[in-house]
Amino acid sequence: MPRVRTTVDGVTYEGEVEARLLLTHYLRDRLGKVGTPIGCDTSNCGACTVLLDGMSVKSCTMLAVQADGSEITTIEGLDGQAAASANGEAAGHPVQKAFREFHALQCGYCTPGMIMAAVDLLRDNPDPSDTEIREGLEGNLCRCTGYVNIVRAVQSAAAELRGTPS
């Protein structure tokens, strides 16, 4: 079996995997990184989005072996520190905070993927229009929010990341 070495949320893992093992199952079942959920099996929903060397990928569409040598950031490591305090006070990455502030989630299942995709979108385009946000997040489905508050949250996070008031 092939060996895979990855750094996930700052921790390095190495071990043998079946060649066919999907990255998302590697993360969830092998490494216990269950913060990244799986919503479909055709790369349509984007719930499993993670950052691979800084770029967003749908982890259900990659093999674990393809991630060999990569640095992966999941929703669990996005903040780089303990992400949220136990009492729910806002901590974390500006996109995470904005999602809470603008009620950009309900059931929260799409949220990890949506946040990771938004982080990548803002890396690429720090000052997007609403239309650019909507088109940029087209690969991530949400069944709860109708997206209005997601757009608002991403705009707010964009402003914070640019250092300008929203």
Binding site: G39, D41, E89, C107, I133, E135, L141
Partner: protein, 793 residues
Amino acid sequence: MTTAPEVGRDRRRKEDARLITGRTNWTDNIQLPGMLYVAFLRSPMAHARIRNVDVSGVLGQDGVVAAYTGADLAAEQGSLPCAWPVTEDIVIPDHPPMAVDEVRYVGEAVACVVATDRYVAADMLELIEIDYEPLPPVLDMEAALAEGASLVHSDKGTNASFTWPFSAGDVDAAFGDDAVVVSRRYVQQRLIPAAMEPRSVVVAPEGDGYTMWSATQIPHVLRLMLAMVTGIAEHQLRVVAPDVGGGFGSKLQVTAEEVITLLLAKRLRKPVKWTEGRTEGIQTTHHGRDQIQKVALAADRDGRFRGLKIELLADMGAYLMLVTPGVPLLGAFMFPAIYKFDAYSFTCTGVFTTKMPTDAYRGAGRPEATYAIERLVDEMAVELRMDPMELRRRNWIKHEEFPYTTIATLTYDTGNYEAATEKALQLFGYDKLRAEQADRRERGDAVQLGIGISTFTEMCGLAPSRILGQLAYGAGGWESASVRMLPTGKVEVVTGSSAHGQGHETAWSQIAADQLGVPFEDVTVLHGDTRVSPKGMDTYGSRSLAVGGTALVQACDRVVDKAKRIAAHMLEASEEDIEFEGGTFRVRGTPEPATTIQEVALATFAAHDLPEGVEASLDSDATFDPENFSYPHGTHLCAAEVDTETGMVKLRSYVAVDDVGVVINPLIVEGQVHGGLAQGIAQALYEEAVYDSEGNLLTSTLADYLIPSAADLPEFVTDRTETPSTTNPLGVKGVGEAGTIASTPAVVNAVVDAIRQFGVNDVPMPCSPEHVWRAIQEAGGEPATTLGRGPGR
């Protein structure tokens, strides 16, 4: 200490801290020592006799623990329950969780493999040998009822499950020769709920019993039903709904996979997990809608409505699941909507087909009813050459007429359709858009503008148990709550309703904080575990707040009553002289002495000096059974641009003014409306479950079934009016389904309005470019010159 009330505040949600950081507890996250994985072999045939299933090739393979056929489990798997036998002579076929003799839809489970690894379990399915004898699929409801039709259940002698009639007033007179009558046939296409979290279930044997974690909306109902289906005693079953990623009705079910996973854990004495793939979920998680509606509206020449006739065929699919036959009944009472009629008749026939069973999907019966009436009213406006809003105004129940008993015998408690409409018209700019529409028509613009109205109401707060009994539903509609005052004055609230995205932990904290006078942060809300919240009716039908929230208020009142006795003793005053405000007990009219509810909690815990006969506990329970439903309403307005050359529809603006009564948390309410709109708009424009002529589900991936993305939906303008419900002490009505119920007709009315001048009076849903383009072509493809002037024509 007096603080601003929590109710009405835009509290950020307590739930979010874990959801935005991935510290969630979805069922599929659960890993237990020695856990096994089950995979199901599913029928590729819509209808076939099972001649033989052979799992022997699987047994003994690496990693395989067991493999079973339906026949292997026939003695213990029971029949999946239908809790709503709507008529006495309803046909309810046996519904084995795994098929034994015959399969009746593509995706029906026929065998399963249990292995140490989920990949191995899936691999092994290929080694199962199965021999099918094809039988004719039954796919069309009208054909299914014809003489000599092939039968889904040959032993039943019919494809009709039931016919449920209702009639009030003199329908013949209402539809007399002097009436203007508009008759239409509308099709509610089949929809796939597609919650983002796939279904998942884990069962672990524990002692003499079992714990099941399931991505379910109904842990309490599920436990009861599992006990009845499998014979495992109820007290030996614990069902937990951990974080649940959306439901929209699709997780209001007792599923084959839950039953089989439980039986496997019982047989193998090991924890067993099953998680569906998306295609598996689309094929085998119950579907929604799928009705043929023959509808007719009669009015006087001056626009006064007289009568309404509704004939429905409702596709049950292959079996009756938990509330399959009840879904159209939830709509039966809502076709008259906000309007006054002299007479009303309704009949619904449930029809078996070789498709996945239908059941509750967001709105459940009410979107179908609202669609039909709101489309019909627009058609009548055209017939009468009247503005569609004016026609509505002439017929709706006026605000001073509440409470109002409709022709369908429901008593609407409160409402103010005038106020919501007025606000919506202002936000929308109705007159300006009508002017633009006229201008585009005049110019013969390739892109035409249509305006769609939906003035809707719905019935929420399911449900008075007495009424459910009259409708032959198998259970009641109450909800329970418990409040536990901890010694430090912190509060545990236990609710029997089971959230899966609604924000109960936040909203219930707000209610308890106000009722008990404690800080919002001092309340924790527990739900979704039958061991923690032993009594509940769970979450669906926009019921949680109106019913469960009221139970919470009552439980809090009881806590305060108990605390008051102890406070009186502590303050050396008579109980009658004690008043309670903002968490503090004091002797009426005097600032001191006083004691806080937290101090009372600690004194109660210590129990050193309690009044005679008083227990050392402030904890209280309550169960609330509503006397009536609640009736949210609203006015939704949609402007749609239709490219008449391509059929492409673009929503230009959407205004929703909803009246959901008193609002606990405006942020959550707005979110519910947004999401509801998205799902209703999706039915209008995008979504349709399509079976081919062999009964294969063609739309079985999210690549084929079009759930709208952010790029497909517009910004929404939402606002509220607030007419408190009189059904419950909070004055709340319910909001979970409002947007879905209202928006579908608003959008389709706008689309039809945009191309009405071509002679089009309907576009089948979804209003895809193809459907719109075909509607224009079939009408002749040229705008009629006599139409096209003035609003609504």
